[in-house]
Symmetry: C2
Subunit: 447 residues, 2 copies
Amino acid sequence: MKLALGSVLLTDLYELTMLQAYFDAGMNETASFELFVRGLPKERNFLMAAGLEQVLEYLEQLRFTPDELSSLSKTGRFSTPFIRSLEHLRFTGDVDAMREGTIFFPDEPIIRVTAPMREAQLIESRLMNLAHYETVVASKAARCVLAAPDKLLVDFGLRRAHGAEAAWLSARASFLAGFSGTATLAAGLAFGIPIYGTMAHSYVLAHDDEAHAFEQFARSQPENATLLIDTYDTEEAARKIVALAPRLAKDGISLRGVRLDSGDLGEHARRVRGILDAGGLRDVTIFASGNLDEHRLRQLFDDQAPIDGFGVGTRMNTSADAPYLDCAYKLVEYADEPRRKRSEGKASWPGRKAVYRLTGPNGVMAGDWVTLAREKRDGEPLLEAVMRGGKRCGEPVTLQAAREHARRALRALPSAQRTLDVDEPYPVAISDGLRELARRLDEGRKG
Amino acid sequence: MKLALGSVLLTDLYELTMLQAYFDAGMNETASFELFVRGLPKERNFLMAAGLEQVLEYLEQLRFTPDELSSLSKTGRFSTPFIRSLEHLRFTGDVDAMREGTIFFPDEPIIRVTAPMREAQLIESRLMNLAHYETVVASKAARCVLAAPDKLLVDFGLRRAHGAEAAWLSARASFLAGFSGTATLAAGLAFGIPIYGTMAHSYVLAHDDEAHAFEQFARSQPENATLLIDTYDTEEAARKIVALAPRLAKDGISLRGVRLDSGDLGEHARRVRGILDAGGLRDVTIFASGNLDEHRLRQLFDDQAPIDGFGVGTRMNTSADAPYLDCAYKLVEYADEPRRKRSEGKASWPGRKAVYRLTGPNGVMAGDWVTLAREKRDGEPLLEAVMRGGKRCGEPVTLQAAREHARRALRALPSAQRTLDVDEPYPVAISDGLRELARRLDEGRKG
C-alpha cells in the first residue's frame, strides 16, 4: 500500500468514467481548460502562482503502467477496448501559463491546457492538487516576506505539514516566494535550497546540565551552532552562553546564534540581546520561532524586536488562516466552440483568455485586463507558451530564476496589496469582447 | 528532484545535527518520547487518533541508503565516522500507542517511543508528519459522521488536499473515522476503500445538449451513473432525467443518482426529489457536494433535506477550520531519569505515562486518568504495546478493524462531545503521582 507519486491513478474516479463515456461516444476533439480562482479568501489581497514546474513534470511522464491498467480492469467499471486505448495515452497537448512567482487575481487563468479532450480531462485532479497547494503556500509565504523584509525566513514546517509532499512542496514554494531556506533536509538537498537547523528541547533535556548541552553541541557543530535557550529560563541560558563563549573561542569555535521558541519573543529578544552584547557577543544572532505568521512577523518587525531570523512553520505550510483557494479547472472551449458553466454562484467566463498587466511609470502594477485570447490590449501579456505538443518550450525555469521573478513581482505590488489587511481591491477588468461572448452563449442556450 | 516518501532524509536538519552531537559525546542511552497535543483547537471537543499504521511502516523500513549517506557527507556538516555509524542504523525500539480510532484529549500520550536516543530522536519529524495529519483528518471526519449519521459520506478532496500524500492519507483517515468511501482512485484501490464518482461540469459542457450528455454517460456506466444536474438549471435537468429514464429502462439501464453542486442544496434537493418521485424515479438517489463540512451537514440533516449522500472534500481534507494541532513529541525520560521541559506556556508532564478511561454503565465514556506508567487505576488502559525491539507485536490492524474500533469509540462519546459546538470539557485528571514527580523535578532544578 505505497503511494506512487507519479501514478496516473492519483486522480478522481470520475475522470476515468468520463473518459470511458467519451471513448464510447468517440468524442476526443480539442478541449481548452483553464485553471483560475473564483475569489480571494478574505485573508488575502493577492495570490502568487506556483507549482507549474511540478505540473509540467507530471504531464511529461504521464502514462498508464500495465499494473495500473490491470487494476482498472479489475474494478469492473471499464470496457476492455477502453482500457486498451489507455495503453498508449500520453499528454500531447499545449500548456500556456503564468510564470511561477507571478502575482494574480480572481478570474485570471494561471494555467491553460489545450489538448484532446480525454488527455485534458484526465489530468484535472493532479494538476489542481499540485498547482493549488503550491499557490496557497507561495501566497502565504509572500505575505511573510512582505511583513519582515530583509529578515532571514526559514521554512520550519515539516512536522505539521499535511503529509510528506506538502512539506516537500512548501519548502519549494516558500523559497520561491522569498524565504531564505528550509529545515526539511530532503527538500533542501533536492531543490538546492539552503538548509537550516538548530536543536530541539530534547537535546537540552537529555543533558543534566544546560550549559554542558550547549558546549557539546557547539563543539560538534563548530561552524553552525544555533543554541535553543528557552528550555528552562531564557535569560539565564543567555548568561550561560556568555560564560561559555570565551572557552569555545579559545578552540576557534564561534557561536552562530541563539533561538527563542516561547513566551513574548520581542521582550525576550531585547533582554537576550542586551545580555549577549554586554558579554561581547554582538555577532551572535537571535533566531525566533513558535507559531509565527505574517501578522506576528509584522508586529515584531514594527516593534523593532532585535531578531535576525525567523523559523516559520505550521501556519505557513498549512496556510492556516486560508488553507485552500476556491479554484477551478473549467472547460472554456471544446471543438472550437466556447463553453460556459452557469451554476449558481459559480458561473465562469467562456473561451480561451489572455491577461494583460499595466505597469505605471513608477514600476508599480496599475491594473489587469482579462480578455479573449484573440483580443489585444496594452500591457504585458501574463500567459506564455510553456508546452507545445506535449514538449516543453525551452529548458525548465530554474527555481532561482522563478524566485528572482517573484522578487521583482513583489516589488511591483501596489501599496494596498503590500498591507496585510485587505484594503482597496486591485483593478481587474473583464474585456467587452469577453462579456459579449458570455452574453451570446447565454442567449443561445435560452433559445 | 523526486520525493522519496520512505527516505530517512525526510526529516529536519536538526535531527541529524543533534545525532552528530550525541555521537561525538557517545550519548545513546534509552530515551522515551511521547506524542501528545497541548490543547484542543477551539473548534474541536475531542480528537481521534490515526496514522499509527503509517508510523509503524515507516519505522520498519527505516534505513540510510548509500546515496543518502553520500549526500549527507557532501553537506560538510557531518563527520565521516558519524556517517559510517548511520549505515547500519535501524529502528530497534519499542512503541506503545493508542489504537487508531481511539478518542483522546490534551495531555494524553497517543504514541510513546522508547529506543536508543539517536533512533528515537531521528524519527521525530516524519513520525509527527504522519500521525499529526491523519489525526487532524480523522478528528474532522468524525465530526462529519456525527453530524449526518447513516448518510453516505464520500471523500472528494484530492484536488485541494495539500499534495498527493495528504489526499492519500485523508482518504484513509476519513474512511477510518466512518466515511463510506473516496473518489481518490489510487487510495481506494490501495486501501480497499470503496470508490465513488459522478461526472464533472465539463462533461455536460462538452455536449451541445445536456440530455444527450446524460444519456451517453448512463449508457457508458449502466450500473453506476450519477448525473450532475446543476450545470445550467437544476430542476430543468431533473425533468430531462425523468424524460430520459424510460428510454434507458427499455435497455435495462437504471440511473443510480443525481448530484447537486451549487445553490441552496436543501431547497434544490426538495424540488428535485419531488420531480423525480412524480416521474416514478423514487430509487434515484440525491447526492450533494460543494464546500461541505460538519456544520453544513448538520444543518441539512436537521432540515431533513432529502439528500442521501454527500461528497465532502476540501474542508475535510484540509481541516479548514483547524488545519493543525498543537502537538509535540517530547522527551519524557532519558537514561532512566524522567525529564520535563518548562518553557513558558509549553511545560510538559515528565515520565512515561499511562491513560485509563472509565466507562459508565450506559457504555458512555466517563472520564480519563493520565498517570505514571507504573501507577494503576481503574478503567481501560488506552496505550498498548505495538512494537518491541523494532518488531511489530502481532499482525497489522486492518483498516476495517480500525474503522470498527472508531465506530464503537464514537458511540461511547458523551453527549457534550457529540455536539458540534464546544460544550463542557471532558474530564481528564492528572494523577497525584504525576504531579508529585513534576514538582520534584522542578525543585531539583531550582536547587
